[in-house]
Symmetry: C2
Subunit: 237 residues, 2 copies
Amino acid sequence: MCDVCGCGDPRKVTLSPHSSLLAGNDEEARHLREHFLACGVTAINLMGSPGSGKTALLEATARALEGRFKLAAVSGDLATSLDAERLARAGIPSAPITTGSACHLDASMVHHALHAAPIEAAASSCDFFFIENVGNLVCPAIYDLGQKANVVVLSVTEGVDKPLKYPVMFSKADLVVLTKTDLLPYLPGVSVSLIADNLARVMPAARLIELSAMTGANVAEFVRWLLAHRPVRSPLA
Amino acid sequence: MCDVCGCGDPRKVTLSPHSSLLAGNDEEARHLREHFLACGVTAINLMGSPGSGKTALLEATARALEGRFKLAAVSGDLATSLDAERLARAGIPSAPITTGSACHLDASMVHHALHAAPIEAAASSCDFFFIENVGNLVCPAIYDLGQKANVVVLSVTEGVDKPLKYPVMFSKADLVVLTKTDLLPYLPGVSVSLIADNLARVMPAARLIELSAMTGANVAEFVRWLLAHRPVRSPLA
């Protein structure tokens, strides 16, 4: 993987049989976090409903960055490697994580994927490493993956009430990206201000960026947010 | 609850401590199924992503039925009773099931809710009982709730690849309702035929009904499907 991790065997982080599931996950997430920090990689855990636009956001981000920063990603899904293939076509070295029936990624899955050939080198030398989680507004929220920040992607087509109905996910978000704003004219009753109001009720310091990955509108603001989360030692931070 | 169930205490169905979680669920689901059958109630497990339009589908169904059949529902969400309130305003007696952090409904939660005041009588005397599951394309698929049929609600805004990426859910569906078709003109690359093709790859006898709950277009076809699932002894069946 890299000199910092150097573990070769991704199962090096062995867990006591008495560790609880989440405690074991936390231990492996700590290992990932140390690795990302030591490599100067900003890792982002990207969560959201199925079809909320997580992959499209990364494609739009790659277009907006025009090669100025190095990106890499893993993409979680129950089946297929469709998203990882889309990201690779967008110029982002990517590996799929197919979970079978699991509804979320855990740190062990991410660690294992980081040792996979398509991204082993890129994951240690990139500026931003995106962990595109399984599409699910519930379970992914409770698994630490060693990320620096949680970004929740919410589409305007999902309606205004999702922050209230899925408070665990939104309360853990460092940023909510509201996608598909190009569809707002066709969605009666949906407005950015109503979503922002509901978000503020579960996310005390709510940070919301609305954009359209399709038109590119406001993707630059997400890019600015990303760049502000680079390590302090970076000359561009 | 009713003469058939008569259990008073919704925890009457006690489980051996050695039962597995799913085996215990199956036991309680069997109890629910017997109850629904004996009461002549057609129970539908309505699943889909957050914001796919499950509640809107039930509102549109109530409008289309114009009081000709009796409906009742429970609505699952991590927090709030917003959906149950919407359904009540649409004339559907409803009770919320707030799951806290759970990502799905299980048979025990449904059983417990059936004994709740707002729907105790309606759930035994209605024609159609809708179990609106927690918005999630993964976990709800594996919990039997005593339903007669699984209906998966998929919005056109979620893209064409969801059947391939969430095959467990779609392979268990008796019907897929494709919602928000009014938005198709604004979604490049999304078509009903592409979604149907992908569905056929995971659902050998795929049954798809596309409709718009907002405009009412084709809701009548869903109503016809519902009526075809009434008990055989019904004069309208």
